[in-house]
């Protein structure tokens, strides 16, 4: 029930031929009434956003207005966004978990690292630079394009580069990997991702403990100038986001690459009581 039947393919194409042009026309008709592209007098440019441009530096201490809105005015959105990426990591771990006791399937891609002298030497030079640059992007997010997400992704991609060349990480289940891996194990990546979320929410809850609203960094006892306090707290939450993103990127890469090679990602030893 509910599944399209074989004979339905042609019907689907016919319906599509009618429906999709209608969707496009409808969208364009609506768009014709929107304010002109680039109009400085449009509601979007005049109603809420001026405060973000004119007062952000004084109120939050961030010269990068996107960072000010992201981490402070709409910090709750960003907590949600961090939770979304964490959810993806969690999801891949659950979905690609070992099916238990089944023999491993033959490899489907990426069964061996691409070891070669040139790649090896190149990554030895490149990866440290990438990782350092990731931290720079994180810290510099206040005054230039960047921040926790961008830095975290860069850091994660540096780790992925190592994984691609040197082989994948071990799963952290206590067994020795065939190839010595660089960077955190799968379990380590998961712990990093969890720690990031806890750090972010923890800063928000700390603000509540000092009498403010959730995520109201201004109440934290870090100094007398509220803008400076907010700036420090923003750096803190950017670092937390960095951890979650870097950890989740690692989790996603490891689970998907291990999942493609084997029947599932081994999820730890069976030490606890089985339910």
């Amino acid at each position: 029930m509910g599944a399209p039947r074989h004979g339905g393919t042609r019907v689907r194409w016919l319906l599509g031929a009618a429906a999709f042009p209608a969707l496009f026309l409808g969208l364009v008709l609506g768009m014709a009434e929107l304010p002109e592209f680039g109009d400085p007098g449009s509601p979007a440019s005049t109603h809420v956003s001026p405060r973000f441009i004119e007062d952000a530096a004084a109120e939050t201490g961030a010269a990068n207005m996107v960072t000010a809105v992201l981490a402070d005015y709409r910090g709750y959105d960003t907590l949600g966004e961090t939770a979304v990426i964490f959810a993806a990591g969690l999801g891949c771990l659950v979905i690609l978990a070992a099916a238990g006791g089944r023999p491993n399937r033959p490899a489907a891609g990426m069964s061996h690292p691409f070891g070669s002298v040139i790649l090896d030497a190149a990554t030895r030079i490149l990866v440290p630079v990438v990782l350092l640059f990731a931290v720079y992007v994180l810290i510099h997010g206040h005054i230039s394009p960047g921040g926790g997400f961008q830095g975290g992704v860069l850091f994660g991609s540096g780790l992925i580069m190592m994984r691609l060349v040197w082989g994948p990480a071990h799963a952290g289940d206590g067994q020795q990997p065939e190839v010595p891996a660089f960077g955190p194990s799968l379990r380590g990546s998961l712990i990093l991702a969890c720690a990031g979320i806890l750090g972010y929410a923890g800063i928000g809850l700390a603000a509540m403990a000092f009498g403010g609203e959730f995520l109201n960094y201004g109440t934290l006892p870090l100094g007398s100038d509220p803008a400076h306090v907010r700036e420090l707290a923003t750096l803190g939450i950017e670092a937390a986001v960095f951890l979650t993103v870097a950890g989740t990127v690692g989790v996603l890469f490891d689970t998907i690459s291990i999942g493609m090679r084997e029947s599932g990602v081994p999820l730890g030893s069976e030490r606890g009581p089985r339910e």
Partner: protein, 510 residues
């Protein structure tokens, strides 16, 4: 305490979602107690807010200390606290049921403490997403939490392995399309008004003169959320998702997931966009689609042989009924819709825990697998019977009152839509009688040997639900009865609040 509760309600599930997998990864122990404690704390926060909003009026909470429209505001009135209470309460039962690990459900991969922790984390994340949708007063923030709940739900659906991964992928495609449609609509609203705050939107929309653009915005938002709410022609993702989800998650997802989207529809179309011409037309169309959904869901439920699939189609019928109430928009209809959300969530959760457990134990989903349940586990079956009676609409269960309110609202609304809604709701009760009596008859009066194709040697004489599932089943059935018996106070609590909320919006509008 009133100042702390809103922050705790939205923060606790996210903290828990990270804490539980962390504990599982570090210590490799079962996280059952930790997760249950967290769910209980979230429920306590929701209960506190419910009382607080009832006693001292709605609560506006500016997250980060930035008031709207610059910051993100949360809004707790009778409506949102009620749904929050429902979500948090169902989550407690689901967390309890999660002890019925996937390793007993034969379709799922084996369980380790880490995997258990991950699944419990996913449930907490789902709860956090749903509570975020319920609480927020910001249309973009709603999108973010919609996606949190969606990703967590895909995870829980796919945790069954095998077929459930295919169901989860199709759900993911439908859900992402829904989210993108919604976000596109929000983009139109933002371009027209420059704001994302719901109160600010409601105040600024009447002065917007771009009718076509506003229509596109309303339609995009309505279609997007209707996909998530499984409104009739957009329900394609629902049956497979509900059927292939492992039992503990299915009880929760079937109970509250679509209803929270229906709540978002109610908030946006019934409150924020209610003043627009397009909004009124869309609500009218929604009544008719709801009628179609009620009938189609009921008819297809009768046609099913597998019990869980029958329950899934019956959910489409119920969502149609809720959206009829949302579409009518009168105070009586909204009360009916809300009451039906609560009544259906409790009853459907109960039935899914029961039916899923029996499916896992008996290795089959046919009606005949229920044979013998009455003699082996009369209390469990009595509880399931109460839930089924509520689905049919027999007094004094909760389902009777929700249908009563919706029927009264249909009569009050009048016109062809009112008559069609009235007829559809009556018909759905008749159809529900047909499909539920079939199951109940097998469970109470037949033994496994009676079934024509049964080989009684292979099977023990009827299933008995294990405690992690039996407790939620019985508990929810008791709640179904209590909700029915205390229907009047419920009505008095929610109704004035909703009316004052609408009045507040129109008073602020220039």
């Amino acid at each position: 305490m009133r100042e702390l509760l809103p922050g705790l309600l939205v923060a606790l599930p996210l903290v828990g979602a990270a804490l539980v997998p962390l504990v599982a990864a570090l210590f490799r122990r079962t996280t059952r107690v930790a997760a249950l404690t967290l769910h209980a704390a979230i429920f306590a926060a929701a209960l506190g807010l419910f009382w607080s909003a009832a006693a001292a009026g709605p609560i506006r909470y500016a997250v980060g200390g930035w008031p709207g429209p610059w910051g993100i505001e949360l809004w707790f009135d009778g409506l949102s606290t009620l749904i929050a209470l429902l979500v948090a309460g169902m989550a407690c039962f689901a967390s309890f049921a999660q002890t019925f690990g996937p390793d007993r459900d034969r379709t799922a991969p084996a369980s380790t403490p880490l995997r258990e922790g991950l699944l419990r984390g996913a449930l907490l994340l789902l709860v956090g997403g749903l509570l975020g949708i319920v609480a927020t007063r910001d249309v973009f923030n709603l999108f973010v939490f919609l996606e949190i709940s969606s990703l967590a739900a895909y995870t829980l659906v796919a945790s069954g392995g095998g077929r459930s991964t295919v169901a989860a992928f199709r759900y993911l495609l439908a859900g992402t399309a829904a989210g993108s449609l919604y976000l596109f609509g929000v983009g139109f609203l933002y371009a027209l008004t420059g704001t994302l705050n719901m109160d600010d939107l409601a105040a600024r929309l009447p002065s917007v003169e771009a009718d076509a653009a506003l229509t596109v915005a309303v339609v995009l938002i309505a279609v997007g959320l209707s996909i998530k709410a499984a409104l009739f022609p957009l329900h394609g993702w629902l049956p497979d998702t509900y059927v292939y989800t492992p039992t503990p998650a299915a009880g929760f997802i079937a109970a509250v997931m679509a209803k929270v989207s229906a709540y978002a529809l109610l908030r946006l179309l019934g409150e924020v966009l209610a003043g627009t011409t397009a909004g009124a037309v869309v609500l009218e169309i929604m009544i008719w689609l709801g009628v179609a959904g009620v009938v189609a869901g009921g008819v297809l439920a009768v046609a099913q042989r597998a019990v869980t699939r029958m329950l899934a189609w019956s959910s489409i019928s119920a969502m149609g009924m809720i959206l009829i109430g949302v579409g009518m928009g009168s105070a009586l209809a909204i009360t009916g819709a809300l009451f039906h959300m609560a009544a259906h969530a409790l009853a459907k959760g109960c039935l899914f825990f029961g039916a899923g457990g029996i499916r896992a134990l008996e290795d089959g989903d046919g009606v005949d697998r229920w044979a013998g349940l009455g003699s082996r586990a009369p209390w469990t079956l009595a509880a399931l019977t109460v839930a089924a009676l509520s689905m049919i609409g027999i007094p004094p269960t909760a389902g009777f009152f929700s249908k009563y309110y919706l029927l009264s609202a249909s009569i009050a609304a009048g016109g062809p839509a009112g008559i069609a809604a009235f007829a559809a709701i009556i018909l759905s009760s008749l159809l529900a009688t047909v499909y539920f009596l079939r199951v109940l008859e097998a469970a109470w009066f037949r033994t496994p040997g009676d079934a024509p194709e049964a080989d009684s040697e292979r099977r023990p004489p009827g299933p008995v639900l294990p405690r992690p599932l039996a407790v939620p089943v019985v508990g929810l059935a008791v709640l179904v009865l209590l909700t029915g018996i205390f229907a009047r106070p419920f009505e008095r609590h929610v109704l004035p609040d909703w009316e004052s909320g609408t009045a507040r919006i129109s008073a602020e509008a220039p």
